[in-house]
């Protein structure tokens, strides 16, 4: 695997979409500066924070239970227009997304990293940083304020770096779309199957799968 330099990123961004090697990053603001080959970051593209967030809600039970219904109950959607800001309290988390919509060709993988200056405020933006080939969508950011003070986030500001890597021995080709989150443009709540189904697929009998709800009610 080799990391793509700006020159190659720019070349791919300018390919027609029917070309399997084409790369999309939109809106790519301050395009000229961003794609300037002589800039300091010759191997990455800076990404901005989007304007939509999912704020975790305090669940009605004393735990988060990843199951089919969790998407319906776990978050409040918030819009923070450009110019406004969101406060993330100390040690709290929020789901955001990049302003940019990304489409990777089948011969590229990506990794999203916290911009170094942002990282120095003890902000973590990503816990699932790997971006698979053929991915498309705004990148969901699992933002955590790991510091002891509330953090102000301005949508539209630079927050992340995208690094692109060429897969070895792979030719770019068009492939079918897939994935649970098809080309998301806002942060989306997690989608899970019920544990009983996940574990059933590897042979765990239904009768052995304990439900926290039953235990929670029996403890009460």
């Amino acid at each position: 695997m080799s990391v793509l330099a700006k020159r190659e990123i720019k070349r791919r961004l300018e390919l027609e979409i029917t070309n399997p090697e084409s790369l999309v990053i939109t809106p790519l603001l301050e395009r000229t500066t961003t794609l300037d080959k002589s800039s300091d970051d010759t191997d990455s593209i800076d990404l901005r924070l989007g304007a939509y967030f999912l704020l975790p809600q305090v669940p009605p039970v004393p735990f988060t239970y990843p199951c089919k219904n969790s998407a319906k109950q776990s978050h409040i959607r918030v819009h923070v227009p450009l110019g406004s800001y969101l406060v993330v309290p100390a040690h709290e988390t929020v789901l955001g997304s990049t302003l940019e919509f990304i489409k990777l060709p089948s011969d590229l993988s990506g990794e999203i990293l916290t911009k170094s200056s942002v990282a120095r405020t003890f902000t973590v933006i990503e816990t699932a940083p790997w971006i698979h080939p053929c991915y498309r969508g705004c990148l969901t950011l699992e933002i955590a304020n790991a510091s002891n003070t509330p953090l102000i986030l301005y949508p539209g500001r630079l927050i992340a770096q995208l690094i692109l890597m060429k897969l070895l021995e792979t030719e770019a080709q068009e492939s079918k779309l897939f994935g649970k989150y098809l080309a998301p443009v806002y942060p989306e709540a997690p989608i899970f199957d019920d544990p009983i189904d996940d574990l059933g697929r590897i042979g765990v009998p239904k009768s052995q799968v304990r439900s926290p709800y039953q235990e929670s009610s029996s403890n009460n």
Binding site: I17, T26, K176, L177, A183, V185
Partner: protein, 467 residues
């Protein structure tokens, strides 16, 4: 008869009690969440200020009434409470629905794009709209004079500012707030405001001329009630058509497609001529749908859009193909009142058609910019389709080696074309997505609308900043 001080204080405090929660709703919102468009904030600020002034006015009113030497003046001041109450009851119906319509519960990028398009036309640069959630599945503009009259009635009584100039109110079905395609019908509602504020007079003159010609031709005279009846009826139909054609000039065929969707006009396809009868019926509030689609088609031909869409194999275009004549022997007029005996229905419709023909020629000079839309649509639509079938937001496209950012009208119409003609291509392109499943079509159609709304949202960033 003297009124006890207690009665006066009680009735004034009851009105105070009615208004106070409305003031709180408008003025004590969190500054950060939910967020509102500028026009909604302007509406809340105005109503909140009117409310505050009303409360101050009510605070001193009992003293004014009770200390008044002349009983008639005291009675008159007391009577004003009724008007104030009635005016606030009138405003009451819009406040919570407008509060419900925050930026997450409206097609905000579409609304911004429609405003931008409208503001390209110099004379309407100051016109703007506050949206509110409507409980019915319909779009409507609150006639501009009504809200202004009510708000200004309160202002004149309690000492407030006049209602903001050129601010209109539009209702949008609350369930459709996150979509794109159906909401293109908003352009029609903007047309009502433009008509009422600026354009009614020349149109009404044309109606009067046509009516006069008809009466001269028929050699009949109408009495004092019949003339306004006929004029109001044709004016009502013509205003609807004006708004349709205004919307078509503003956003192209997308408006006609959204209207087609709203009234389920695809029911006209595969039917015998004249069926379903509902689509051939002129009612007081609107002309027959078939007549409206005919006008859409004429305007699309006039603007050059028709040449781009006439070969589409989709239902709304087929509807436009079916509605290819201005008249039909199946047209009926049901207007809840008697048409004068001497006026033949056909002649009345002929009057209406004359004015519609004039509108088709007149409006493009008022709502300019279509030629550029058509030319860019022709070039960019196939490329946008290539992006959408790959589930990619088309805010930046590569066309003949150049980086381009399609303008909103192009995005909306190309998106509509993709939805109407090519959605199966996208479904086929997604692993495990059944092409014929209604649920899949609906879900992926909603995704498509999100991608287009995102592209609309990106457009101003890409074209106004240093991009």
């Amino acid at each position: 008869m003297t009124i006890s001080a207690e009665v006066v204080r009680q009735e004034v405090s009851e009105l105070h009690r009615l208004i106070q929660p409305l003031v709180k709703l408008c003025t004590e919102r969190r500054p950060d969440f939910p967020t509102y468009n500028d026009t909604s904030r302007e509406f809340f600020m105005h109503i909140g200020e009117l409310g505050r002034r009303s409360l101050t006015y009510l605070q001193t009113l009992p003293t004014k009434i009770l200390n008044q030497k002349y009983s008639q003046i005291a009675a008159s001041n007391r009577q004003k409470l009724l008007q104030l109450k009635s005016d606030w009851e009138n405003l009451h119906q819009y406040i919570q629905p407008a509060l419900d319509a925050d930026t997450l519960h409206l097609p905000t990028p579409l609304i911004a794009a429609l405003h931008e398009r409208l503001h390209e036309i110099g004379k309407w640069r100051a016109h703007r709209f506050t949206l509110f959630h409507a409980s019915e599945v319909n779009y409507f503009e609150v006639p501009s004079g009504i809200v202004r009259r009510v708000a200004n009635g309160i202002a004149s009584q309690v000492g407030g500012k006049p209602f903001p100039k050129f601010l209109g109110l539009i209702g949008i079905p609350y369930s459709q707030a996150n979509g794109l395609f159906l909401n293109c019908a908003l352009a029609h509602e903007m047309g009502h405001f433009i008509f009422q504020e600026n354009e009614a007079q020349p149109v009404q003159e044309k109606v009067d001329d046509a009516l006069e010609r008809m009466l001269t031709d028929l050699g009949v005279s109408l009495d004092e009630e019949q003339i306004p009846f006929c004029r109001d009826l044709i004016n009502s139909w013509v205003e609807e058509t004006f708004c349709d054609l205004f919307a078509t000039c503003l956003i192209g065929p997308a408006y006609s497609f959204s209207f087609s969707q709203l009234v389920m006009a695809s029911m006209l396809i595969g039917q015998r001529d004249g069926e379903p009868a509902d689509f051939y019926r002129f009612e007081w509030e609107h002309p027959a749908e078939v007549a409206r689609f005919y006008s859409h088609r004429k305007m699309l031909e006039r603007l050059g859009w028709w040449a781009e869409i006439q070969d589409w194999s989709s239902a709304p275009v087929e509807v436009l193909r079916i509605c290819d004549k201005p008249t039909s022997s199946f047209f009926t007029v049901e207007v809840g009142g008697q048409l004068p005996q001497t006026i033949l229905q056909d002649r009345l419709l002929q009057c209406y058609n004359e004015v519609c023909d004039w509108l088709v020629n007149h409006l493009p000079s008022r709502v300019k910019g279509s030629a550029k839309d058509v030319a860019e649509f022709k070039m960019q639509s196939p490329i946008i389709s290539d992006y959408l079938r790959r589930a990619i937001v088309p805010s930046t496209i590569i066309a003949e080696g150049r980086v381009e950012h399609p303008r909103p009208v192009v995005l909306i119409n190309a998106g509509f074309q993709f939805w109407l003609e090519n959605l199966p291509l996208l479904l086929t392109n997604i692993k495990g997505e059944p092409r014929n499943s209604i649920e899949s079509r609906s879900r992926i159609g909603a995704r498509l609308e999100l991608w287009l709304l995102k592209a609309l949202e990106d457009y101003p960033l890409l074209t106004k900043g240093d991009s």
